[in-house]
């Protein structure tokens, strides 16, 4: 599903990734760990197709529309409501039966009651839940998640745990975290980056 060989990335003189090899089979769950500045976010952005490596090759067994990416930013418009944001993404990702799917996700992540409120009025945790709805909306084959537990309260983390467990084996995961113990039972592999 996802293969990288001797992957490297430089920003000018600064090298942020050096000779990374990874292979995630279909249905695999790779946990990426490492200290701040080790290049986790850069690696995930390359894997999602948002950045190009300066060295090495990467092969994704999926098209752009089959990738779900959760980064440090929720990638939603603060002046739109949760419903409007998801409808926009549903349109762009050609999600069939979009309304039903949005309703199901908002219900699951506890945002149904506030679906008509602007995201600007949401707490950080609620925004993160909405970001997760956005990532899952089109049923991606490859999920690239960068610190998905950040800002989530206990209930939110439990919801995410349940969602990950449900999709484990069906979808392919690449997940970066500072708390690998949390996803240890789900992991099929681990990549530890060093600064």
């Amino acid at each position: 599903m996802l293969t990288a060989r001797r992957l490297g990335k430089r920003y000018g003189e600064k090298r942020v990734l050096r000779r990374i090899d990874l292979e995630v089979p279909r249905g695999g769950f790779l946990v990426v760990t490492g200290p701040n500045g080790a290049g986790k976010t850069t690696l995930l952005r390359i894997c999602a197709g948002l950045a190009q490596p300066t060295e090495g090759i990467i092969e994704r067994g999926v098209s752009r529309g089959q990738i779900g990416f959760l980064g440090h930013d929720p990638l939603v418009y603060r002046e739109l409501t949760a419903l409007e944001n998801l409808e926009l993404y549903g349109r762009l990702y050609r999600v069939p039966e979009c309304r039903e799917r949005i309703g199901m996700l908002l219900e699951r992540f506890g945002l149904w009651e506030v679906r008509h409120e602007r995201v600007a009025s949401y707490s950080r945790g609620m925004t993160q839940r909405l970001a997760l709805c956005r990532v899952l909306l089109h049923g991606p084959e490859l999920l690239v998640l960068d610190e998905p537990y950040s800002a989530l309260d206990e209930a939110g983390a439990e919801l995410l745990d349940a969602q990950l467990a449900e999709l484990r084996g069906e979808r392919t995961f690449l997940l970066a975290t500072h708390d690998p113990a949390h996803v240890e039972p789900l992991a099929s592999g681990r990549l530890a980056l060093v600064a």
């Binding site: 999602a48 990638l75 603060r78 002046e79 739109l80 990702y93």
Partner: protein, 212 residues
């Protein structure tokens, strides 16, 4: 049809954002009307046709620049560009949707600005209005394209005018010509060719602008 729906959804999103935030159109309106008022009091009474036409185009160009400078602000401030770029739709739909929304703001500003111009200076002829309409297309197509390029840089506020104004010179030549020439057809044709050329170039190359 799918492409048109994508463009429609993206343009609708920008109009909705402006309706909520109201930070682009009011600024454009205030700027263009204030510019005419300043020119009205600073120029001698009854300026020549050429001078009046020139100040109309200065006002139009800088009003457009104000709107273009804010076109990608929501995407930049809220870091949403990644989300749009990852979507499987044709990436040129992002440019076209944004161009249409910017065009809507510019036209809305001109609906107020052109009568104010006519009141302060001289009535606008049919070819002059047609020239403005054709110029709007080129301004929004080129300006939105350059705005997407500039938004990724640190000196974006500086870069956009530096890139845009040289490319807008043909628009001013065509626009002024359409307003003052005895046979404006040549200038209107020139504006139409400019629009066609740059719309095709921007549409075809936007993919490379949004790539890292």
């Amino acid at each position: 049809m799918t492409y048109a729906r994508d463009v429609g959804a993206l343009a609708r999103k920008d109009l909705l954002l402006e309706l909520r935030a109201r930070d682009t159109l009011p600024a454009m309106l205030l700027f263009v009307v204030a510019t005419f008022v300043v020119f009205h009091f600073s120029l001698p009474a009854h300026p020549s046709k050429l001078a009046a036409s020139g100040l109309l185009w200065v006002a139009i160009l800088f009003t457009a620049l104000l709107g273009l400078g804010r076109a990608f602000v929501p995407e930049r401030e809220q870091h949403v560009f990644d989300g749009l770029v990852l979507a499987p739709c044709d990436r040129s739909a992002i440019w076209l949707g944004k161009s249409l929304a910017t065009l809507a703001f510019l036209v809305a500003a001109q609906v107020v600005a052109l009568p104010v111009y006519a009141l302060f200076f001289r009535p606008l002829t049919g070819p002059a209005v047609l020239g403005v309409a054709l110029a709007d297309l080129g301004i929004c197509a080129v300006g939105t394209f350059l705005g997407a390029m500039a938004v990724a840089t640190r000196a974006r506020e500086l870069l956009l005018p530096l890139l845009f104004l040289p490319l807008a010179i043909p628009i001013v030549v065509g626009g002024v010509g359409a307003g003052v020439a005895d046979s404006p057809g040549r200038y209107l044709g020139f504006l139409a060719v400019y629009d066609l050329l740059f719309v095709v170039i921007c549409w075809a190359s936007f993919e490379y602008v949004v790539a890292e």
